[in-house]
Symmetry: C2
Amino acid sequence: MKKRILSGENREWPKKGRSPFIHRLYESPQSGPEIEAESFAIIDGEAPPHEHTPAQWEVVRRMIHTVGDLDIMEAIQFSPDAIAAGIQALRAGRPIFTDSNMIRSGISLKRLRTACPEYGPTSLVCPIGEEEIARQAEASGLPRALFAVREAKSILQGGLAVFGNAPVGLLELNRLIMVENIQPALVIAMPVGFVHVIESKEELMSLDIPYIALAGRRGGSPLAVSVIHALCTLAEGQKENDRKGLRP
Amino acid sequence: MKKRILSGENREWPKKGRSPFIHRLYESPQSGPEIEAESFAIIDGEAPPHEHTPAQWEVVRRMIHTVGDLDIMEAIQFSPDAIAAGIQALRAGRPIFTDSNMIRSGISLKRLRTACPEYGPTSLVCPIGEEEIARQAEASGLPRALFAVREAKSILQGGLAVFGNAPVGLLELNRLIMVENIQPALVIAMPVGFVHVIESKEELMSLDIPYIALAGRRGGSPLAVSVIHALCTLAEGQKENDRKGLRP
């Protein structure tokens, strides 16, 4: 199973007889944005009926696009105020806590600046790799993710909180919300895995805080990034409408 | 659908009455590595029967762990020589091409150095963000991913090629293998999406080159990173065995 055995004959033919698939693209070029538009159209066509608002669908579709899998659709949960809260926070240039360097690296500053031109590299805060965090984790026998959240408390108050890695960071944020009255503008809750993950999301969803969450075990940094990017698209659209006077 | 309506009563009780879940972890601390070990044990317990070798299972299990989903198991494909080729390349400190900055950011240098102490920041090559790449993409109407692969041709000859984003980079690598006799040590093929993705992986798997691929639409940067990290674990184990004289 899982092994492909090549006969001696098969070993040679691809190099000799066949035209590489990419020649088709050389002949009929498609740009990255064109491929993305085609992908979104495929998702629109394949998605089952749903009750998402158009703005929520912008987020859901980009998440599906990011993992290549429509099955995540039913696990995506919004608090009623999540989209508005996210757009407002991005347009105000609120700082963004990320639980992994992959998320920090994946979030496009160019996209953030379409929502708010004041966004810069220091707007993204990811303490997980700091030596002091490692020291505290070592001393306590608890994961680094927990101390990264504590370190970023002042950012999390009014900022965006983005989780795509370990659940313990989200659990610690839940505690800050419940006990220390920390109120992020929006929590994007996509930690992934088999231990404490479902609980971390269920606890968050029981709190009175704007959230976009992927219920269950699945999650990951690209999903979390895709939510931020979809919210940037929505924020840009709202700015455009403001300029046209379509909104007061 | 997807909306959770909180009653006025529910809005208050979490902050007042309930103990945060994380208090359980404060009382019985679990470190990151301990949580990972528990996760791996859960995956071992839930996985259906399979015919992977123990070394392949090290890779498969880490991939499952990375996306929180056992369903990817059946889509993971190894060429017969993939594990040995990957371990050998890492132990030799071969350079690593990555198709996204998220992968470059996600691969742990500390882990790479357990396989080969000579690994350093310049061992990871990711041209996708370079201005010249953007210029070529703009001029041609083709995606940047294609030109990033061309730019890295000398790295790809004998290096590890890691794809977790767009399929067009992998398609261009397939062409280099078929037409220009470029021979990576190992191709990790996890591009994701709805256009050209399945074709890019099927074409690769028809070639005479070591690969680890996730067939179908699914994929992503964390999956690609997880394969590298699993191979580092295997390489470290092999080094350890070499030291003990268990292998000639």
